[in-house]
């Protein structure tokens, strides 16, 4: 096979320009401050050289086949060329200090790039890049089972190291502070532990794949015994249920709060999933209903003079009312947009969302809704003497709400109404010609979606104790929409995975907060290019997006 140098160089340069970009915006330098394994590997390395590795791997993959040696050469060239742009930056910096214009191109960055050795260090930089590119190329060339094992192992170590906060917290809560010091040095994995972990995961994956491959094909293909499958499912449910129930004890206060955030967005996502995923109505003003829920809860229970409830309402009485109010507004805002489809619907709902926020902020409604000062002193829920004042207890509240919402979602999906939504999403006219009342069907989607959102808003208000108009900005709607798309439109497990990925994980990486939206954007683009159906897609969308890949029996007409 001939090596296509143009393709190889292209991948290398794409990697190189990305590395240059990440360096110049300060990401590399910031990431370099966080050690992953001992003091030798930090997150800056992961970002920079991970790119070189990817360049080598992708360049080799673009060649489809070839000998291992060719893979190595391709990877090496891609890796070396990926180092060029950043190397040029280092050289340029030597002669023209750029820090006045590019704040992040500073000595700290240069020291990191040159291994603290000045210009001669560039040689080392090229060496490292070339080596990583070579490894990436080789990685693509080795047999699949080895590749899976090594890949999973590396990914596992990287995840443990990057989310070491989470791991150390769990270890502390389970086995005490001392256990952490066995595995970690400050936040970084000890090198020996990292190696052991890598080997353990790789060995596990390798053995499992082997066993699967060795099992007689007939047994693997035969449909699982139904009872056994059911038992497996029940066991899985029990384990997940138990984990959810004890999560706050394992995770501690801060992580419980992260879980609360995830739960809040699961609620939002489940509601929006009904509107967008089931009924196919693209609603960009979804945050409005979240605001209705929160403000209803706030205004009914606050102890300030904004209180509209006359002191009668506690959290539990106000909760159903908050949901009802949201449902009502869901229907009210649904009416004007009944005849709108697709993009037009998205624009109008976007407008609605903003109107609601601006109304809450306005001086006109200030006597009722508190204007920019918001609604303060919303009491925490309390039942049978249990006060929900800690993140841990609020977690249970949002968990219960999310479970109810998930249950309702599942039942709705399989109901007549679910089919109505699906038919309407596919073709509104035909659905109508089948006898479906599309007006009613649409309004029900808006109403139920709004109800879930309102529930989330009410709990949110009680958790924070005060609410402000700016908590209900467009970004919440966008977040909710992104998470259901990333998770998989129309899929309930997808909503949960999406919420963890887009809301939970960023909370764990707060130190890199300023690049959150950048990473978010990159993730979305990569996701849509490579896996448009989402992490855990619903059956119908999988069928749609991969319809071309279904092997059909030949037509005989």
């Amino acid at each position: 096979m001939k090596i296509n140098w143009k393709t190889t160089l292209r991948y290398g340069l794409i990697g190189g320009v990305s590395a240059l970009y990440f360096s110049m915006i300060g990401m590399v330098e910031l990431f370099a401050g966080r050690n992953l394994i001992g003091t030798t590997v930090n997150m800056g390395h992961l970002l920079l050289y991970g790119g070189m590795l990817a360049a080598g791997l992708l360049a080799a993959r673009a060649h489809h086949q070839g000998k291992l040696a060719q893979h190595a050469v391709i990877g090496l060239v891609a890796g070396l060329s990926a180092a060029i742009p950043t190397a040029l930056l280092v050289i340029l910096h030597e002669f023209i200090p750029m820090q006045d214009v590019f704040v992040s191109v500073n000595n700290a960055l240069i020291r990191f790039l040159t291994f603290e050795r000045g210009l001669p260090g560039l040689l080392q930089f090229f060496l490292a890049s070339g080596l990583l590119g070579l490894l990436g190329g080789l990685f693509d060339g080795i047999p699949t089972d080895y590749r899976r094992a090594v890949g999973t192992g590396l990914a596992g170590v990287a995840i443990v190291a990057v989310f070491s906060d989470l791991v150390t917290q769990v270890l502390t809560n389970l086995f005490g502070r001392a256990s952490v010091n066995i595995f970690f040095v400050s936040k970084a994995l000890k090198p020996v532990i990292a190696l052991v972990l890598l080997l353990a995961i790789a060995a596990f994956v390798f053995m499992r794949d082997r066993r699967k491959a060795n099992a007689p094909a007939a047994v693997a293909a035969a449909p699982l015994d139904k009872r056994a499958a059911l038992r497996k499912q029940v066991i899985l449910f029990v384990i997940i249920g138990a984990l959810l129930a004890i999560a706050p004890w394992i995770l501690g206060s801060f992580l419980s709060q992260v879980l609360f955030e995830v739960g809040r967005f699961v609620l939002l996502g489940l509601g929006l999933n009904i509107v967008v995923g089931y009924a196919g109505l693209l609603d960009l003003g979804y945050v409005a209903f979240f605001a209705f829920g929160a403000y209803t809860m706030g205004l009914l229970t606050t102890t300030t003079n904004l209180n509209l409830g006359g002191g009668v309402f506690n959290f539990w009485l106000a909760l159903p009312i908050a949901v009802l109010v949201s449902v009502l507004f869901g229907v009210l805002l649904g009416f004007p947009v009944l005849s709108l489809r697709g993009d037009y619907l998205a624009i109008v709902t976007l407008g609605f969302g903003e109107i609601i926020r601006i109304l809450a902020l306005s001086d006109w409604l200030k006597p009722i809704m508190g204007g920019a000062q918001g609604v303060l002193f919303i009491p925490t829920p309390e039942i049978f003497g249990i006060v929900f004042d800690s993140p841990e207890s609020m977690y249970y509240l949002v968990l219960a709400a999310a479970l109810v919402a998930a249950f309702v979602s599942i039942r709705l999906r399989d109901s007549r109404l679910g089919r109505q939504w699906m038919a309407m999403r596919e073709d509104e006219d035909v659905a109508e010609a089948m006898g479906i009342n599309t007006v009613q069907t649409k309004l029900l989607a808006f109403a139920i979606g709004a109800g879930f959102s309102g529930l989330g808003g009410a709990i949110f208000a009680a958790r924070l104790g005060n609410i402000f108009p700016h908590s209900f900005n467009l970004l919440i709607s966008i977040n909710a929409l992104s998470l259901i798309i990333v998770g998989g439109l129309g899929s309930i497990p997808g909503v949960i995975v999406g919420a963890i990925a887009l809301v939970g994980l960023p909370e764990l990486l707060r130190e890199f907060q300023e690049y959150r939206l950048l990473i978010y954007g990159i993730l979305l683009i990569v996701m849509m290019l490579n896996r448009p159906e989402g992490f855990l897609p619903a059956e119908v969308f999988k069928r749609e997006l991969h319809a071309g890949e279904i092997t059909e029996p030949a037509e005989v007409e």
Binding site: M434, G435, T438, R543, E557
Partner: protein, 237 residues
């Protein structure tokens, strides 16, 4: 009294006057066809009858009952079913799910099951592919599916919009045979077609539309011999 009576309907798209006073009748047990060139108003007429468009003027009655005021989804309950232009199958649903949507407004599970078997009897091809996603069916199969789905609502009047569109001639023949079979079993059919020759060969009567008006109506075999029809739609000089 005719089963379906359309009296002087005028339908607009915004300011465009698409139907300029269409009147037609369909009697119990007939196959009636609307033929005409592109843009003559055939589909508009059908969509107006099925309630998806609303006439600005004129009335439509079904068995003496005024239906031109009713929303589309209620007409299904009155016994009207439509096979839309371009077939309009629910692409992401399986074949069987599509057929079940046709019986959406009914609640009699046992009868629905037997109707499903009836449709599978008409189109054995659909039975073979009942679990397949309908978006992956061929054009001919999708037309069968759309027809079968309409039949699942047990219609007394079946509206068909261009069933021959985009299909190979041999498939068109099959579809038209089926229409005749359905008709023989008691379903009245109103058929819109560009393929005038095929339509007139199975229909009892026909209407010729031109720019939103009916210019000619007669028995189908007489229309076939009519010189203007022959010249304009049958390609006979």
């Amino acid at each position: 009294m005719a089963m379906l009576e359309v009296h002087d309907i005028h339908t607009y798209y915004g300011n465009i006057h698409a139907l300029k006073g269409i009147s037609l009748e369909v009697n119990q047990g007939e196959i009636v066809t609307l033929i005409g060139a592109n843009g003559a108003g055939k589909t508009t007429t059908l969509r107006t009858i099925s309630g998806l468009l609303r006439p600005r003027q004129g009335t439509i009655t079904l068995n003496g009952e005024l239906i031109s005021e009713l929303p589309a989804h209620e007409l299904v309950y009155k016994g009207i079913a439509m096979v839309p232009e371009g077939r309009g199958v629910f692409a992401k649903m399986s074949v069987q799910e599509n057929l079940e949507m046709g019986a959406y407004h009914r609640n009699d599970k046992a009868v629905i099951t037997s109707d499903l078997e009836y449709v599978f009897g008409l189109f054995p091809r659909l039975k073979e592919r009942r679990r397949q996603v309908s978006g992956t069916l061929s054009g001919g199969e999708q037309q069968m599916l759309a027809t079968g789905r309409a039949l699942m609502s047990k219609p007394t009047l079946l509206l068909m919009d261009e069933p021959s569109m985009g299909l190979a001639p041999i498939l068109v023949e099959g579809i038209f045979d089926t229409i005749q079979a359905i008709n023989k079993e008691g379903t009245t059919v109103l058929l819109v077609e560009q393929n005038a020759l095929m339509a007139l060969s199975i229909a009892h009567r026909g209407y010729v539309l031109q720019t939103g008006q009916i210019v000619l109506t007669d028995k189908a075999d007489k229309l076939k011999k009519d010189p203007t029809v022959q010249k304009a739609y049958l390609g006979v000089d």
